[in-house]
């Protein structure tokens, strides 16, 4: 009996570690949704594809698929920058012309962009799952950083968690203590008033996309390393789950996205471990649906718009 309990508790702890890792990745992606939604009230469906792009570009740069092979950290940096740029382009090409259009039109466009980008990746890189060559990524990633009995925490997991925490803190600082952050919050509250104050709304929105997409790119790379798998539909599932996390926390709220990511990551890992592994995806959807139904604004969300 006792050994059984011990076994279970180490299983539990291992699950906890995995859940936190997954949660911090979801949080990183979710923040991208939340920032864009907070500022222009658009669900950027294509955000998941930016994340996928991050993974693919870092993969290509590492393996020299485009003719240049970069060292690991440089490849990561370039990939993140490309993602940020892609986010800005996405906004300019697809969303900016629709700023004043009905929200449904913008939402449909976002879905269209998502499909477009995903299939573009399919065209360029093919449908097969790719994995990073062992010799090109730093070797210590998969070595254990911490070990208690059977519970192993790899360096990669530590890095993922630390990166997530660091980026979140940085983001909070940017949003709350810089001129740009102030402008972002002002636009979120009243776009017209902000532009009456001399804010170039388009430019600030571009920065928002750049930041959110950059974070999405980081998350993509981390996930690709974590599961050692890169494939075109990876953004689709991760995107949906991260969106669920954002909604769970209250879309538009950055702390909400972090909390939501954490909850969802844990729910998925524990649900998969204890209830049914084939339904671990379903758990994300179920959690999301239930939260929307019970609390349409999420945990930290703002009040509903007044009806009348």
């Amino acid at each position: 009996m006792l050994t059984a309990i011990l076994e279970h508790s180490s299983l539990f702890l291992q699950q906890l570690v995995n859940g936190i890792t997954l949660g911090s990745i979801y949080a990183l992606i979710a923040v991208g949704y939340t920032m864009v939604y907070g500022v222009i009230q658009l669900i950027n469906f294509a955000h998941g594809e930016i994340y996928m792009l991050g993974a693919f570009i870092s993969f290509s740069l590492l393996t020299g698929l485009f003719g240049v092979g970069l060292p690991f950290w440089l490849a990561v940096l370039v990939a993140v920058l490309v993602c940020a740029l892609a986010g800005v382009l996405l906004d300019i090409v697809a969303y900016r012309p629709l700023r004043r259009a009905p929200r449904l039109a913008a939402l449909i466009t976002a879905i269209g962009m998502s499909i477009f980008l995903q299939n573009l990746a399919l065209l360029i890189w093919g449908a097969q799952i790719k994995s990073f060559p062992r010799n090109l990524i730093p070797a210590f990633f998969n070595e254990p950083a911490l070990q208690f009995g059977d519970v192993v925490v790899s360096w990669l997991q530590v890095i993922i968690l630390l990166t997530a925490i660091f980026l979140m803190l940085a983001l909070q600082l940017i949003v709350h203590y810089t001129r740009l952050g102030r402008a972002m919050r002002a636009i979120a509250q009243d776009k017209t008033a902000a532009s009456l104050m001399g804010v170039n709304v388009d430019r600030v929105v571009s920065y928002t996309f750049a930041l959110g997409s950059g974070l999405g790119g980081v998350a993509g790379i981390l996930v690709a390393l974590y599961y050692n798998a890169v494939y075109p539909t990876m953004g689709y599932f991760a995107g949906i789950k991260a969106f669920a996390a954002a909604v769970l926390g209250g879309i538009g709220s950055i702390p909400g996205a972090i909390l939501g990511g954490g909850i969802l990551g844990l729910a998925e890992v524990f649900g998969g471990g204890y209830i049914s592994s084939s339904y671990s995806d379903g758990i994300a959807y179920a959690v999301m649906i239930l939260v929307i139904l019970v609390k349409p604004n999420g945990l930290f969300g703002r009040q509903l718009r007044d009806k009348a």
Binding site: A286, V291, L299, K307
Partner: protein, 395 residues
């Protein structure tokens, strides 16, 4: 003027309060409208006039107060009887929570019982509880405390139960119920999340979501029509369709009647077209039946909105700034129109800024300022009321 007061009381609002977060938009406003009267409601911008209208026809849910309209109470109260019910359901909650406790202690039930418990407690119980929470959350702080205790117990039990399900993985207690993969996690989540969410975050929203208030469409059926301050037409429908929609609440045809073209449905369709045309003729839009509502000029849109409200056969018509943005000629026409509506026996409650229109039309005027009723009386009385002059009319 007094001769009209003989009409019976049609609408009575008693100490109506509406709060938005910390802001009290309407403070204990009482008002009555008798059949056939024209009543004015004036006050500075932001005085809560439109909010008051919204409360009357249930677009907004009043925080407290009573409204009776044509013999119907529009806001239901928590009565003594229902509070007893609430107390009992709270006790039931406590018992149900106790039911979970043995699980925490690790008592091993016979398998049949275990199955039964799994299915019952997780699915129906969760739903049942949420249903019961509904009246509870409308109630007093002590019940909230009780609920928080339940929630904690629930949470602990559910977690330990999950733990046990892994422990006893070989016990296939879900077998009875074919849809367990959907139901069990769903029910568990409901069980854990719903009460917490309901309790710890913004109760008033829950109240609004589950409140017992009548909805606007039911009130329209009782005979209250309204127009809006910022015109709300169905802009991509034709003028005729807009007014036909006003007939909606007076027709009955259902899905099958419509699909199979039953005689009653056809007759109703013809009738509503006829009545709608009548209403449009009444406001002088009879020539533009097929134009798009959004293509009409501003003044015509206002009249179309009135025609739409008239098509619902109201006993009382709420007009929210009908003359806003109209030039003097148009507002003169509007005055005539309102008089004609009144002559048809429809009581009117009207919000208007244009004092000239108001003095001309109203039998009695109520003045709101900062959500409070500061004066009421005949136009002449209002004109000379010191408070009103201070708050609204100016020297």
């Amino acid at each position: 003027m007094d001769k009209r007061k003989t009409g019976e009381i049609l609408l009575q609002a008693h100490k109506l309060v509406k709060k938005f977060g910390g802001l009290t938009a309407v403070k204990e406003v009482s008002l009555e409208v008798r059949a056939g009267e024209i009543i004015g409601l004036i006050g500075p911008n932001g005085a809560g006039k439109t909010t008051f209208f919204n409360c009357l026809n249930a677009i907004a849910v009043p925080t407290s107060g009573e409204i009776t309209f044509a013999g119907h109470s529009l806001v239901s109260q928590v009565s003594g009887a229902s509070s007893r019910l609430i107390f009992r359901s709270a006790l039931l909650f406590a018992l149900l929570s106790l039911f979970w406790l043995p699980l925490v202690l690790g008592v091993v039930w016979p398998e049949t019982f275990f199955r039964l418990e799994a299915v019952l407690s997780l699915s129906s119980l969760a739903l049942f509880r949420i249903y019961l929470l509904r009246p509870l959350t409308r109630f007093r702080p002590w019940s909230r405390l009780l609920l928080i205790i339940f929630v904690l117990v629930d949470g602990i039990c559910a977690v330990s139960w999950l733990w046990r399900s892994a422990e006893f993985a070989e016990v296939s207690f879900f077998g009875l119920f074919p849809f367990y993969p959907m139901l069990v996690p769903g029910a568990l989540l409901l069980l854990i999340a719903a009460p917490i969410l309901l309790l710890l975050f913004n109760l008033s929203q829950v109240k609004e979501a589950f409140g017992q208030h009548l909805r606007a469409d039911a009130i329209t059926v009782f005979g209250m029509g309204r127009t809006f301050q910022n015109i709300r037409l169905f802009s991509s429908l034709s003028v005729l369709d807009n007014v036909k929609l006003g007939r909606h609440c007076r027709t009955r045809a259902n899905f099958f009647g419509i699909v199979f073209g039953l005689p009653q449905a056809r007759k109703e369709e013809l009738d509503s077209a006829e009545k709608a045309t009548e209403c449009l003729n009444f406001v002088g839009l009879g020539q533009q039946l097929e134009s798009l509502a959004s293509s009409l000029p501003y003044g015509a849109q206002r009249r179309l909105e009135i025609a739409r409200a008239l098509a619902t056969e109201p006993k009382l018509l709420l007009l929210d700034e009908p003359a806003a943005g109209m030039n003097p000629t148009e507002s003169a026409e509007l005055i005539t129109l309102v008089r004609r509506i009144s002559a048809a026996g429809i009581a009117i409650l009207i919000i208007e800024h244009d004092m000239k229109v108001m003095m001309n039309l109203a039998d009695r005027i109520y003045v709101l300022d900062h959500g409070e009723l500061i004066a009421s009386g005949t136009p002449a009385e209002i004109r000379s009321n010191a408070k009103v002059i201070e708050a609204y009319l100016g020297a």
